[in-house]
Each structure stands twice: as C-alpha cells, then as structure tokens.
Symmetry: C2
Subunit: 192 residues, 2 copies
Amino acid sequence: MPMQPVPLDKASRLLNHGPTVLVGSAHGGRVNVMAAAWAMPLDFDPPKIAVVIDKATLTRELVDASGVLSVCVPCVAQADLTRAVGGESGKDHPDKLQRCGVAWEPGPQTGTPLVQGAIAWMECRVLPATVHVAGPHDLILAEVVSAWADERVFSRGRWHFETGPDALRSLHHVAGGVFYAAGAAIQTQHPL
Amino acid sequence: MPMQPVPLDKASRLLNHGPTVLVGSAHGGRVNVMAAAWAMPLDFDPPKIAVVIDKATLTRELVDASGVLSVCVPCVAQADLTRAVGGESGKDHPDKLQRCGVAWEPGPQTGTPLVQGAIAWMECRVLPATVHVAGPHDLILAEVVSAWADERVFSRGRWHFETGPDALRSLHHVAGGVFYAAGAAIQTQHPL
C-alpha cells in the first residue's frame, strides 16, 4: 500500500510546489470530484489550505452543506482523468465519477472521496472565517485534519519525484488541458 | 526587450501552474523583495490573486502601508536569488536587495519593484476585503492592474516553456531551498 500517513506539521509540503488538485465532496449520499488549479497552503501547524471553488459548482454546493472537503494531488498517470473531472459538471452528470473513471474510498474522518491513484490525500474542514471570503471571492479556507502521500515519491516530509517513476510526478495546469509535470530538481546555494 | 504586456484577462495564466513568486513592496523610500511559495490566482477578469505574507515581514509592513505590491515569477536562472531573498529579512539588512543581487525597476502604476530577469511581472492593489483575512490568516487579496511576461516563454496567453531556454522555466519550491522546474508538457485528451 503506497499511501502512508503524513505528519500534520508537514502537510503544507504537499501543496507547497503548486500542483493542480482534485477537490472531493460528499453530502447526503451525493459524492463529487472536480479539478482545481487554484489551491495553496495557508498555514503550517495546524495546517490550513486555501482553494477557489466557483459557487456555480456541485462541489461548492456539497462543501457548503457538509463543511468538509478532500484535496488530492493527481499525478501524470491521471492527467486525462484530471482534465475529465475538470471539464464535466456533476450537476449535468450524476454518474460523473463513473464516467470519468474515478475510483475512490471515503476518508475516515469526513467521508469525502480520496481518489485512488492520486499521490497525496488530505481531509479538510472548512474554517469559519470562510464566510468573509467565500461570498465575494469563492475562496474556501480549510484546516487539514488528516493527510497521506505515496511513499514512492513523498518521504521524510517532502516530495522526491526525482527518485520515483515519472508517471507519479505532480501536474501543474497551464491552460486548455495542457499541464506541466514537476520537472528537474534544482538545489540552490545561499549565495551570501 | 523580452518583457511584453499581458492582457489583463490572461493574467491569471501567469500563476495558474503554481510557481513560486517574488513579492515586491515599496513605501516611504524603502523597497523590498521576498520569495513566496503560497500564491495563486483568485479570479479571471478583473484578475485577482491571493498570497500569504507573514505579518512579521518587512514586506507585509510595506504592503500594509502602501496598499500595493508587485508579484514577479522568477526562473531557473534566478534560483539562488530566489532562495536568498526568501532567506534574508529586509528588517535585518536594509541593503538586502544589493546583497541578494536583485536589480529592479519601479512599476509604472505603483512604484513597486519589478525584478530584472524574472519571466513575469504583475503590479497589484490590495483589495479592501483583505481586512477580513489578513488578521487571522496572513492572506493578502489583490487586484492585478498591469502585467508583463517574457515573450520567449509566454505568448498567446499562455506559457510555452517547451520552446524556450530551460533557464527560463518557472520554479516550484519543494522544501529547504530545493525547487522543481516546470517540466514536461502533458497534452491531455478528454476521454469522454
């Protein structure tokens, strides 16, 4: 089983390099997954994240109703899946997850979908402060309450794509269904 | 001159793939630049961004006082510079920009520093809504009022790193001074 728990004080590292994510939601028997390029860490410990979720989406409806969401980091092997869940609405297609080939399991704390094949999973609870920004800006702030990552590419608190299969690199959406994979590792020197 | 104006309705594309950025600030004759990995687009048109800026930083002091900031996208050739401005405080070193080798020009609308050698520049004005989130979350929301990008790697409204020099690829901070460069372009197919 490649998914291993990530200590919560290292959860911000899962999004630190700016990957496109899958946002999962569940409420009243309905479950959805969408893609979101606009997501980032917000705090270290307790870990928090910020993600933009359009108020027209089913995801937003479910997140607003349940107060919970999952954030998964998809990999190169899931590029078509990521585009598919980003391009279809669960409002138009109640069977969206089947149509898009999304297999998932419910998160133990929230019941939100953790997508099989993703390289990281987080379960999150929406912060009360969100009311200030969700209205005008569609910005959801949430606390990460559990996290896992694929030990083949994440270990000792950070990503190590350079030592794993290229199919497990993260995706970074450019435009129109084109992504950049996480590329060469650059080790810097502090010049001073 | 490689920096060409980016239409404002395409400015969100500059951050869509999750690069680490340089945040510039200027007020009362003081100028600073810091690195920030926690930045993302917030809206398309007018373009808005969200960025986390710790309240302990000189940058935050200057941004709070002036209401403006610049956001530049550094490239692989600037990896050491990016680490340097992320590791030193302008509070400790009033000559930080010289020490870190940062050459810049003032943005025409805001006077904030546009860093030479970066592959994108944005001038931004802090949104009034920020008061709701800056306090508890160090989250600054801002409208992009002007944008430029290096035409060697950004054209027709999107990044094209695959056709430019590798030294101009964007940086994505992992941890501890290690970055991933934007890597292979992945063209998806909608499978449905």
